[in-house]
Symmetry: C2
């Protein structure tokens, strides 16, 4: 039907002939035979229904139409080359983007990982979105989020297990956490169930997996916690903790990262949290997200100790943190 050929090849041939003012010379530089050039350019001219080259003189040169056309051809080839280069940049991770979904907890935990990723791949722009774990999962399924950083929660993940791929980073103990002026600050011996029930708590609301874990723990051990504040903001909880009166339940690392926040062990022990990357199974993975998963694996093995956080207070239980990594 439409013999709309105009392959980049023909265009490059045209440019070469125009540049050398000679089919023969251009053929040499292009490492093709001269008849090939004659033929290809003839076809290009036929497809445009216009003479592009004036072969009548001693040297070949562009007609007016050729002069006009060649500038478009140059730009078109330029775009193709630029497109190729842009893709290269995406692949060598000098450019790109990555969107991460995180809970408030994992946000705190993964901040050093994100910082390290940005240091290693400064050209990749990272977007982080803080949300409940369920939203992370649906975001990953919908493709809005490349990678989620969440807790392994068999209750929720199981539902979409066949669509979701997990990569465990490390296991994180949960403990009670209190401010420095709290009565149990720095206490080395575990608190028992009864003592816990006496402590007014500030907790995330039950949209969040951490809270659901805590509720499950309380249910299993028949603990009736005294919940003073429910919120969806971890920083609110931490600020309240600093005032000294309330306690909360947090991953150990977060307590250690924060100034003036002290972890306190409980008996019975809270179940450890597994921090996990989740992503769509069998889906296309961008180079940036593969790189992130790789870096996260490294970081998980190293453990969470690399966090160069300004800390002044003691962190008596930092050794509880158990670096680990699963596949």
């Amino acid at each position: 039907m439409d013999r709309n050929i105009m392959c980049p090849r023909s265009l490059r041939y045209l440019l070469a002939v125009a540049e050398h003012h000679s089919f023969t010379r251009a053929a040499e530089t292009l490492f093709v035979s001269q008849p090939t050039l004659s033929q290809q350019i003839k076809q290009l001219e036929e497809s445009l229904e216009t003479q592009l080259l004036d072969r009548s003189g001693r040297t070949v040169h562009l007609t007016d139409a050729g002069e006009v056309y060649i500038s478009y051809a140059r730009r078109a080839l330029g775009e193709l080359d630029a497109g190729k280069r842009a893709i290269q940049e995406l692949q060598d991770l000098s450019r790109g983007s990555l969107s991460l979904g995180m809970t408030p907890i994992t946000d705190y935990l993964a901040a050093p990982l994100i910082d390290r990723f940005n240091k290693r791949y400064p050209g990749i722009s990272v977007g982080t979105y803080e949300m409940p774990q369920d939203d992370i999962e649906s975001g990953v399924l919908a493709g809005n989020i490349d990678i989620g950083i969440a807790f392994t929660n068999t209750l929720t993940v199981a539902a979409n297990y066949e669509y979701i791929e997990t990569q465990h980073l490390f296991i994180e103990p949960l403990n009670l956490a209190v401010g420095s002026t709290h009565q149990y600050a720095g206490q080395e011996t575990p608190l028992d169930q009864h003592t816990l029930e006496q402590e007014p708590l500030a907790l995330l609301n039950s949209d969040f997996a951490l809270r659901r874990h805590i509720d499950l723990y309380c249910l299993e051990h028949d603990i009736k916690p005294s919940i003073a504040i429910e919120t969806n903001s971890l920083s609110t909880i931490i600020e309240v903790l600093r005032l000294g009166r309330l306690a909360t339940i947090l991953p150990n690392t977060i307590a250690c990262q924060q100034n003036e926040i002290y972890p306190v062990m409980l008996i019975p022990e809270l179940p450890h949290h597994t921090i996990t990357l989740i992503s769509r199974k069998d889906s296309y993975k961008s180079p940036a997200s593969l790189a992130f998963k790789g870096l996260a694996a490294e970081w998980g093995v190293e453990g969470c100790h690399d966090t160069p956080v300004k800390r002044t207070g003691p962190c008596p239980m930092s050794e509880v943190c158990t670096p680990n990594s699963h596949n």
Copy 2:
């Protein structure tokens, strides 16, 4: 060597699939089979060493790389289409350029033709260059000038006859021309040779073909003209004529066009001038120059009477003008 395919075809296929989010649907709109699309896009992806489409989900959609690349592809295709359109415009004469070489004389004579050309093809920019006839011929040979408007001059044209193509427009009588206050202004009877020799003349210098024709005429009839002023500017001559004292020799039409300039016949009669288009033989002719030649032929047949020139003085010899056209 470099399997740098990326034919516009593949790009259009990619755009279609991205647009329809489906190979099958895209294949229908492109009137090709679905496997063809699969194959072509796979090759495109291989040549870019990148996955452009994510086929894992329910619908096909672009990967990050595909998203990036497709914008370049769109621009490249846009340039190709724009180039094609630009050439169309050149061919349908809605755009283009034309450079004309003219002597001062033919400049005056052809002004109405150029005006008419511009009216008919307003998109074509016309460049006119005033120069001696020899320069016109060399300019035409060198390709700087598309079309020259000159006198047929067997002496000069003969030298390059095989490279130059001529198209006679019309024959133009030469006469003495004087200002309105000159003693012979409005004289109906021809002047003889002796009277001519008494008249001080303002003439173009011998770079110009008109002057060489005049010299030849004088030589043949053994006339010894009294040359008062030599110049390369016709307008200078005309202004001097208006002062009333000097005369010159001019094509009849120019005398008639100018206010207050009167033609006066001579005996023996001056040889008529043939106004001629010259262009390179066997060379590429742009659509614009072909259009100009066509319009010039029309205009030559109609004669030089169409010149809508402001004139106040009488033009007693206008009937001498002999419209004509040769091929």
